[in-house]
């Protein structure tokens, strides 16, 4: 299990909430917002790329949401800020969408293991679908900051207008990342110099080789399954493929039982798993 670095006192109430203040809300797409946040007590919120918080709007409920910012970025270090990037789908996310700069909500976390960046010392292939780019963004920034290996990012969304972080794409490219984009369908009349089709169609253009790289994948489960299948055919060993899974979660603490898949708990054993570890679990109906 992964421990938050600050709050390790045995006996601290793991379910108690901390208030955060919204410094900025940025509309990424018609249904996705990025919130820039700071803990109200002024302390720096530490986390690892790929970890998540349980986010509360009290009265409405709680949702598992990944951090989407660079945990070691200059703003994080200087001002202790962090970000969530959230797609509006239901009660909690809709309530969050009603909030503005200056408003508060509550969090507990960080939870989960996060992306195995230290292990991914060679080249890195990142494959994201839809809102799945949000949990990968911290990993992208960490890689851009340090690792000399190759970084390729394959990203697909419903339409170009559904892609968050679009204005950062050039920054990633300048930083050395190779970015391959695709949309299920291009927006009517808009200019779209990239591909149209599923993200799997981009795999033929990948330059990172299975011999010296890792893959991180996050997106809808159906998309991850087909991507993993295609990668396996291209010779990627299952130990080098990492997926971030999504399940219903109430606690984040291995006690509510909701995120179990066979003998793993997605909340703490994951959400990031090597494909080798979950291959058998995802194949059958569980």
């Amino acid at each position: 299990m992964v421990k938050s670095e600050e709050d390790l006192r045995r006996g601290a109430n793991p379910l108690s909430l901390r208030p955060v203040e919204i410094l900025d809300v940025r509309r990424e797409t018609p249904d996705v917002n990025t919130y820039t946040l700071r803990l109200v007590d002024g302390s720096r919120f530490r986390f690892r790329p790929g970890q998540f918080n349980m986010v509360s709007v009290i009265g409405i409920g709680e949702s598992a949401l990944s951090m989407s910012s660079d945990p070691e970025g200059t703003e994080a270090l200087a001002e202790g800020v962090f970000q969530h990037t959230i797609r509006v789908v239901g009660n909690v996310t809709r309530a969050l969408a009603r909030l503005r700069a200056g408003d508060r909500f509550w969090i507990r976390g960080p939870y989960g293991n996060g992306w195995p960046l230290e292990q991914a010392s060679g080249d890195l292939l990142i494959i994201a679908g839809g809102i799945g780019l949000a949990p990968l963004r911290p990993a992208i920034y960490r890689r851009l900051a340090g690792n000399p290996g190759r970084l390729e990012i394959l990203y697909g969304a419903r339409t170009p207008g559904d892609m968050p972080f679009r204005d950062e794409f050039p920054v990633w490219q300048e930083g050395g990342a190779r970015l391959l984009l695709t949309a299920d369908k291009a927006d009517e009349g808009a200019e779209w110099p990239y591909r149209v089709g599923l993200v799997t169609a981009l795999l033929d253009e990948v330059e990172v080789s299975p011999a010296r790289g890792q893959v991180f994948i996050c997106g809808p489960e159906g998309m991850m399954k087909s991507v993993v299948g295609a990668l396996s055919k291209r010779g990627w060993p299952p130990e080098e493929i990492f997926v971030s899974l999504e399940r219903r979660m109430e606690c984040g603490q291995k006690t509510c039982g909701r995120c179990q898949i066979a003998d793993v708990y997605v909340c703490q054993d994951g959400p990031v798993f090597s494909y080798a570890a979950v291959r058998d679990l995802l194949g059958v109906d569980l």
Partner: protein, 264 residues
């Protein structure tokens, strides 16, 4: 919500029904005082409120059984932002939907001295057959807790969630001894959504299914169980043609157990 003008306007309407689903509102005595702080009861005939629309949240009791009902429910729909069917009648048509399965003219003659005065549709249906409905709260009568959750959810701006628990779970939490297991009673709790607090099983009566089919009712297995317990096809038929007779799952199950026609 201090500004009176901003209080959401609540309405309660009655259609073809026994009025029993309005009682939970009246029984909310203490809560209703709290409620009045934050909500305006704009229309509720039983409580003497009869202001015109529009309404933010309208609860509808009763099924649609005649032309006048049909006209009025369309008007209520137009005037209401959120329209919620409460109780067996508004959700499924109610106990009176039993007449849907019998010839209307014969029934009229059997019940009324002057059958020609009765003008009604051949069936009584839930309101969703006539208008779009935003929420359904089952029960015969509806559960006070479900109503309260619904109202509070709307005030907080969240979509209300109704649990998919079965009556059995309420029964277990009361530490009742299961009637199927211990008494061989064909209790419908295993098929029925929760809300009543397992009222009947707590008094050693098998559940009658008032809250309608649960999220995934295993009707076939229940029919087999009934047979094992010695019920005839006719008795099984009657179990599903009783209080909640017009919910699709129950209606169709009743049809699978057709009583033998009596030779006359």
């Amino acid at each position: 919500m201090t500004d009176r003008a901003e209080k959401p306007r609540l309405a309660v309407f009655k259609f073809t029904s026994c009025s029993g689903c309005q009682l939970p509102f009246l029984n909310m005595e203490t809560e209703i005082l709290d409620l009045a702080e934050s909500i305006e009861v704009a229309y509720f005939a039983m409580a003497g409120a009869s202001q015109p629309g529009p309404y933010d949240l309208a609860f509808v009791e009763g099924g649609i059984s005649c032309q006048e009902d049909a006209r009025r429910i369309r008007k209520v729909r137009e005037e209401s932002r959120i329209l919620v069917a409460i109780g067996n009648c508004a959700v499924y048509g109610g106990p009176q939907a039993l007449r849907n399965f019998l010839p209307l003219e014969e029934l009229k003659r059997a019940v009324y001295p002057q059958p020609e005065l009765i003008h009604c549709f051949p069936t009584c249906q839930g309101i969703a057959d006539y208008v779009s409905v935003d929420g359904f709260l089952n029960g015969c009568p509806v559960d006070h807790g479900h109503l309260q959750d619904y109202i509070v959810s709307v005030m907080l701006g969240k979509a209300p969630e109704v649990s998919t628990r079965s009556v059995c779970l309420e029964c277990k939490m009361k530490e009742n001894v299961c009637l199927i297991v211990a008494e061989g009673v064909a209790c419908m709790g295993v098929l029925t959504g929760s809300g009543c607090g397992a009222l009947c099983p707590s008094f050693d009566r098998g559940c009658y299914g008032c809250f309608g089919p649960s999220a995934d009712p295993n009707l076939k297995s229940f029919a087999n169980l009934c047979r094992e317990l010695g019920l005839t096809e006719e008795e099984i038929h009657r179990k599903f043609r009783y209080i909640v007779n017009n919910a699709e799952a129950f209606r169709e199950e009743a049809e699978r157990h057709v009583p033998q026609p009596v030779e006359s």
